[in-house]
Amino acid sequence: MSTVGIDLPDDSGGDDILAAEFVLGVLPADDHAALERRLDGDAGFARQVAAWQDRLLPLADGFAEGHPSPAVKRDLDIRLFGQAASGPRAGFWESLALWRGLAGIATAAFLFAVALPRLAPDPAADQARLVASLADQASDVHYVAVYDPGHGVVGLSHLSGNPAAGRAFELWVVQAGQAPVSLGVIPAGAAVHLTLDSPLRTLVGTGAQLAISLEPPGGSPTGLPTGAVVAAGDLRGI
C-alpha cells in the first residue's frame, strides 16, 4: 500500500489511516503526491480524507490570524484577472492602489468584526446579515455595505472614491417602485457605521437597493436625492 520506505507495522489500519497521514502531510513528498493523484479517481478515499480534515479542524484554532500586506491581494487580482480589483495599477497610481489596499485591510478588519462572531455560538442576533457592494461604472466610488438587522446598523467600508470638494455622500434605501429614503450622510472614514431608527429598519431588507448620492454638506435639503447617484447595489444575503 505504501512506499514510504518505512516498514509498516502490522496494525497498519488501511486506507483510513493513510488518509489521516495524507491530511497531516507527514509522508515523504513522493508518497504524498501519489495519494493526491489518487484523490481524483477514488471517491471513497476522497471521503476518508475529507472526514479527517473535518475531524482535525479544531486544531486549526492554533493558527493565529495574520495580516498579509495589501500587495498580496493586488498581485493576486493581477495574476487571476489581469488587473487589480479596481482600475489602473502602476506608476502614478501606485500610491492609490496601496491606499485602496489599506482600505481593504480596514474592510477585512470590519468584516471579521461582523462575520466572525457569527462563527461562535451567538443566540442573540440570529437574523441574517445582508451585504451590498455599492458601485457604478460612471464613477470610482465603491463601498461595501453590511446590514445587521439585529442591531439596525449599516456598516460601510470605503474602498475607493471621494465626494467632490464641499459635497458629502448620502446613503439611501430604495424599494422597487418607491421613492428613495435617506439613511443619513456617510461620515468620512475607512469603516463607518450608521445606526438606523426603527421606522427605517423595516425598509432595509433583501430586494432593496442601497444607493449613494452626492449632496450638500449635511445632506439633501429636500429629503430626496438632489445630486448624481454615484454608486448603488442590491442587498443580498451572504
Binding site: R55, D61, R118
Partner: protein, 190 residues
C-alpha cells in the same frame, strides 16, 4: 462527515459556504469578500508553517488562486467550508516547506524561526463544542504523542522531522502517530 448544520454558530459557516459557491460561479465580488473574511486565517496557516513572512505571502496568494480554480469542487466534498479552506492552505504551505527543505537543507531551521503570537480572540473561528471534544481526545494521548499530532498539523512537521525532534527512529514515530490517530478516531466516535 461532520455536518456543518449541527455545529453551533453554523450561520457563519453558511455564509462562507455560499461565498465559495458563488466563487465557483466566477463571482468576483464574492471572491473579494471571501478574501476579506478568510485571508487573515489562511495567511496565519502559511505563516505558522513557513515561519517566513514573504514566503507566507506568496503561499497565501497561491492558496487563493487554488480556491478560485477549485471552488466548484467544494460542493462535492460536503465538507465544512473552513475545513476545506484550511486544508488547501496547509497543503500549499507544507508543499512549499518541503520544497524549501530540499532546496536549502543547509540553512539551519533556527535562522527561519519566527515566534508566532498566541491566537487572538479573532482566531477562534472553530465551533467551541467541536474544539473541546477534540481537545479532550488529544489530552487522552501521552504528552509526546499529542505534541507529535499537533506538530504535524500546525507546524507541518514530516515523519522525518518528528522522529528527529522526539529522538526516536522513523518507524517508531510512524507507529506512534498512526496509533494516536486511530485512538483519536475512536475517541471522537464514542
Amino acid at each position: 462527515m461532520r455536518d456543518a448544520e449541527t455545529m453551533p454558530g453554523s450561520s457563519g459557516t453558511d455564509q462562507i459556504s455560499s461565498l465559495i459557491l458563488r466563487v465557483a460561479l466566477r463571482d468576483r465580488q464574492a471572491f473579494d469578500l471571501l478574501y476579506q473574511v478568510t485571508s487573515g486565517k489562511l495567511f496565519g496557516v502559511c505563516l505558522r508553517v513557513l515561519r517566513n513572512r514573504p514566503e507566507a505571502e506568496e503561499a497565501v496568494q497561491d492558496v487563493f488562486v487554488k480556491i478560485w480554480l477549485k471552488a466548484d469542487r467544494f460542493s462535492v466534498t460536503g465538507q465544512s467550508p473552513m475545513s476545506w479552506l484550511i486544508a488547501i492552505a496547509r497543503n500549499q504551505a507544507i508543499d512549499r516547506l518541503r520544497k524549501r527543505r530540499d532546496a536549502a537543507s543547509a540553512i539551519g531551521d533556527a535562522a527561519l524561526e519566527v515566534r508566532d503570537p498566541a491566537p487572538g480572540p479573532e482566531a477562534r473561528s472553530i465551533a467551541t463544542g467541536e474544539r473541546h471534544r477534540l481537545d479532550g481526545c488529544i489530552s487522552e494521548l501521552e504528552d509526546d504523542r499529542a505534541a507529535a499530532v499537533k506538530g504535524a498539523y500546525l507546524d507541518g512537521y514530516s515523519y522525518a522531522d518528528l522522529a528527529a525532534r522526539h529522538r526516536v527512529p522513523l518507524n517508531t514515530m510512524r507507529t506512534w502517530l498512526r496509533r494516536s490517530l486511530l485512538r483519536l478516531r475512536e475517541c471522537l466516535e464514542r
